[in-house]
Symmetry: C2
Subunit: 255 residues, 2 copies
DNA sequence: GTGAGCTTACTGGTCAGGCCAGTGATAACG
DNA sequence: CGTTATCACTGGCCTGACCAGTAAGCTCAC
């Protein structure tokens, strides 16, 4: 083998991909800002020198990536969308569904994310963020009588508030996705199992403990309590012989 | 407002989206497994009762999501691809490029993931996995003289081995994605900055410490060292006034 | 002048049909 | 039996067309 030139693998690049790249980079570069409009499809046809089906394929890809949106009849052309984590969520959801990640892994990951979020929140939270958490706790408390539906909503809001206070949107997004995946997997069972006031009160108490740790800035405690709470809450859905990794996370901070 | 029926917001669903959904779900359900082939475009046209451009738009979206691949001339039709984290990486990279996620958040997230992976690996690793890590460390050691390129490859292999030993594929994939995103952002700078044998030896020593903690089963230490190592390695790329959250993670386990 | 309603030019969604350069199973060949 | 050439079919791309929407601008009554 010659040692002189290094050749990279080439792959045929479709026309529509070229178009996607150009528009994508224009957006990333900032030449196209959210709210601005792309030329109409027919105009793009002339600018790119491709046919309309080809241009449309490119637009469909950009649309599915959440970068633009086309509305039929809109004389202003496709709109550049503000960034949203929808695409990330979609991909992460696919990861969960596709790789058929086990329940144990999901919960383990949630313990890590939620624990880290609590820990960071304890150190970084502002007063406003703290009171936002307090409000969600208050709502949870009131929701106990209104049934699991409402309670669960407030529960999610609390975790969301903690994630926001962690100042890390990656944690926020991942946690959101994983939480959704977990709930989707057990929604049928959980509706009955946890629809008792006693269990909700127990859960509320746990949340209050986490909040207290965040208030006092004790990141270690916040993470530990958060993890243990999740373990107690969800371990029942994990086969016993798969609980090892979860217990490892619970015991981690204690010794 | 009537309390009887609940109506959801509707949005016009394009034909191509219907096709995407159907194929997507068939894949998620497992009716279509990686390696299997989709019918040809013209066949799909008859099956879905849509025109070829429409079917093609659907295929382009699926292709950009990394679910299928069409090759011109292939008489067997589009191929169902095995899962790949490429789509996730793309989305996460975009998330970062849009400046919605700072370098600090990325590295913070990496510290969390890598730290957790190390911690779990310390508790769960098998002997085989341990020796796999040892091998990558050995390769790193040898690669110091061959330049940063080789060294970096072995570095990645080590983290990959740790992630595998954590027995959590979510950590594995997410870590891989975040690592890729970080490297993509600083690849130009890092090539020069770290291409010194001294720095590589330093890095090697850190890795050995992590490995030692994993060997002895000390999850806490493994996580702590792993995090601090990442901090020292990457803090330079983070503006000083954004390093707070990172330091929070380093100091977390120490007090 | 001003608001309500209509017109109209244009948009995106979809379709039918066609050409071309590839691919690979298969049949013909040595 | 292995090789090679054929050829049906594939995906990539294009042209041209129709339709149902949208919203800007016009009209017109007030």
């Amino acid at each position: 083998m010659s040692d002189g030139a290094q050749f990279r693998q080439v792959s045929p690049v479709r026309l529509y991909q070229r178009i996607v790249e150009q528009i994508e980079q224009a957006i990333v570069r900032g030449d196209l800002k959210p709210g601005q409009r792309l030329p109409s499809e027919r105009e793009l046809v002339t600018q790119f020198g491709a046919s309309r089906p080809t241009v449309r394929e490119a637009l469909r890809v950009l649309e599915s990536d959440g970068l633009v949106r086309s509305r039929p009849g809109d004389p202003n052309g496709p709109e550049i969308l503000p960034y949203s984590s929808a695409g990330l969520t979609k991909q992460m959801t696919r990861l969960v569904q596709f790789d058929n990640v086990s329940m144990a892994e999901l919960i383990s990951f949630r313990m890590i994310l939620d624990g880290s979020a609590s820990s960071l929140a304890a150190r970084l939270r502002s007063e406003e963020e703290l009171s936002a958490m307090e409000r969600t706790i208050a709502v949870m408390s009131e929701a106990i009588e209104e049934g699991y539906e409402e309670f669960s909503k407030a529960d999610v809001a609390f975790h969301e508030a903690v994630a926001v206070a962690s100042r890390n949107s990656l944690i926020e997004v991942c946690n959101q996705v994983v939480r959704g995946a977990v709930l989707a997997l057990i929604s049928d069972k959980v509706a009955h199992a946890h629809n008792s006031a006693a269990l909700m009160r127990e859960s509320l108490r746990h949340h209050q403990e986490v909040l207290e740790a965040i208030r006092t800035g004790d990141g270690l405690a916040a993470a530990r309590i958060s993890r243990r709470k999740l373990y107690e809450y969800y371990a029942g859905y994990v086969p016993e012989n798969e609980r090892g990794p979860l217990l490892a996370l619970v015991e981690d901070e204690e010794s």
